[in-house]
Symmetry: C4
Subunit: 196 residues, 4 copies
């Protein structure tokens, strides 16, 4: 199996998904009130753009550190990677839904934000599956020592916990849940998979 | 001719097509009833997203195992590959049409699902053409032994048959036809082109 | 300068443009009459999809034969390539406009088809500029002998002429002009840039 | 870290963003007046398409000259690059907003054009951050001599100044600000990062 194409296809999906995020920013257009007010009322779309952009950007960075240490790609890794991409492709949809409903901070906003957190949780779990795969015998170019594995899991799990927490908090306050998801993106930016 | 660009262009088309699938998931937005009910009534869009994502993912995996064994790319292979991509590009359209009509399970749903099956049948036949091309003298890096060829055709044909069956069944029940197409994606996930 | 990135960026633009073509195929949806009739009345969209897909596919094939013989990429070639991509990016727009207006075969259909032809003429002229660039001293890996150059221009020019003819014919019949553009795609499929 | 994937992901984002620009060109369609008049009244969309296409094209060219001289990619460069892409992804949105409002040349047009200039200023500053990073010890394959650095900054800064000027001018005349942004694209086309 071919690492180059796994990377090329994944990079393509990451690039298209991250670029489609901006489609939600479009304002209603002339005749719908002053542009400045339209932009201001549109703040959830800009906030959700920043959070989703940062999350995709960070997962892309972690994806490349993980894949570059892989010794040989097999079907299991390809399917785990497809599962990751299945959630990445859902991000523009979840972002768009959250940004439409977040402002009201009502029942629907809670459903939208829980959905948003669930998509990120699914992405995180798929990434964890890929990471677990790399821990198998002979799967990485340089072996991952047990100490580094434990450290990596310790660093990795809080992010998964944060998304679960966000889903739970969403049933109390959509905007608080949204803030937790934003903080998880900041957290992951400093997280690193082991480079052995 | 250049294998790298055949792969890069195909990966780009696969990546864009698979990411555009999620555009159909968008709900009508605030003021159109509770979000949870909107999402629930939208189930055909989610089901069609899963089936189309899986089918594109699997054809991408099979595409890379096939191309990596190709000794030299010629114009015939490029055109067979373009034919494959012509059907891949139609998948978001066929998915969208099916997901809009599937729920009613009426005459229009039958037409939509038959169209969906026909696009996958076209994709499968184009892939079969590429596979047949690889069986020519000196076209693969490692030759494909006759036993492996026969085995590969035996494994490959049922998928093509399943799409034909789905088109036929569509004229009785759109949802049964849709289920057959979903099962074909699962089937192909375990199918492998010969690695000789 | 870097041939790999010229290819990667161009492949990305070709791939996105060719995949966006299918967005025009979307039907109006349930409640707008029988789906089969909607699809039938939509024939210009399907015809324009086929013609534009074939044209982008063929220009991509010719682009890769041209670029793979280039010895070193310079700023002039990068800008000629950007000009080519400027027209490639316009193709989904021109295709969409043509497919909306073609059926009436009236004044507006003539404008739309002339625009469609003009985008292809612009793409062809940009490609000709890139081809002319490759004829300079030391620009190709293997030199192009004068006989092959003349033969290449002889094969290349009719396509450019066909698009000009289509623009002229558009002012008499949009559908005849559209047919000429379709034939040019078939013509170019058999055209080859010299492989020296 | 991996230069190839930094390039592939960036090329993907540049390619998708540049291709999405043309989505704004779509006319209202049949029944909305003569097509020729619709196209004519649509001139801001065509002008904004040209300016944004040229700006993305030029930043892509400069991106590749910068990255190809990088000795080793680190997390700092990856994040500076993500910041650049964050602004690149905003270009289709800013282009679309500007082209909708530019014609009236009123208060809203000023806001839209200032936003357009601000997105380009953000892109320019992110690129400047990447350029500053390359000036660190041992970060480039061939060292950048101090004279070349000074020359590069002298050539680079006017573009950043032009976008600032455009934002200021926008509060007087949106169309004058738009013209300045167009001239900056022409300016950058002749600007080169040092090739050491």
């Amino acid at each position: 199996m071919d690492r180059g194409r796994l990377e090329a296809f994944s990079d393509g999906v990451f690039a298209v998904a991250i670029t489609l995020l901006a489609l939600d920013l479009a304002v209603a257009g002339p005749g719908q009130g002053p542009l400045l007010r339209q932009l201001g009322e549109h703040w959830p779309a800009f906030a959700a753009y920043l959070v989703s952009f940062a999350t995709i950007g960070v997962i892309w960075i972690n994806h490349q550190s993980l894949i570059r240490n892989v010794a040989a790609v097999d079907r299991t890794l390809l399917f785990a990677n497809l599962l990751l991409l299945l959630f990445v492709v859902l991000i523009p949809f979840a972002t768009s839904t959250t940004s439409e409903y977040l402002k009201a901070n009502d029942e629907d906003a809670r459903v939208a934000t829980a959905l948003y957190g669930a998509v990120f949780e699914g992405m995180g779990l798929s990434f964890a599956a890929m990471f677990a795969w790399t821990l198998g015998e002979g799967r990485t170019i340089r072996p991952v020592p047990p100490g580094a594995r434990r450290a990596a899991w310790l660093r990795f799990s809080p992010g998964l916990g944060a998304y679960l927490l966000a889903i739970a908090v969403a049933f109390v306050s959509a905007q608080a849940a949204f803030a937790i998801i934003g903080l998880a993106a900041v957290y992951y930016a400093f997280e690193r998979t082991p480079r052995a």
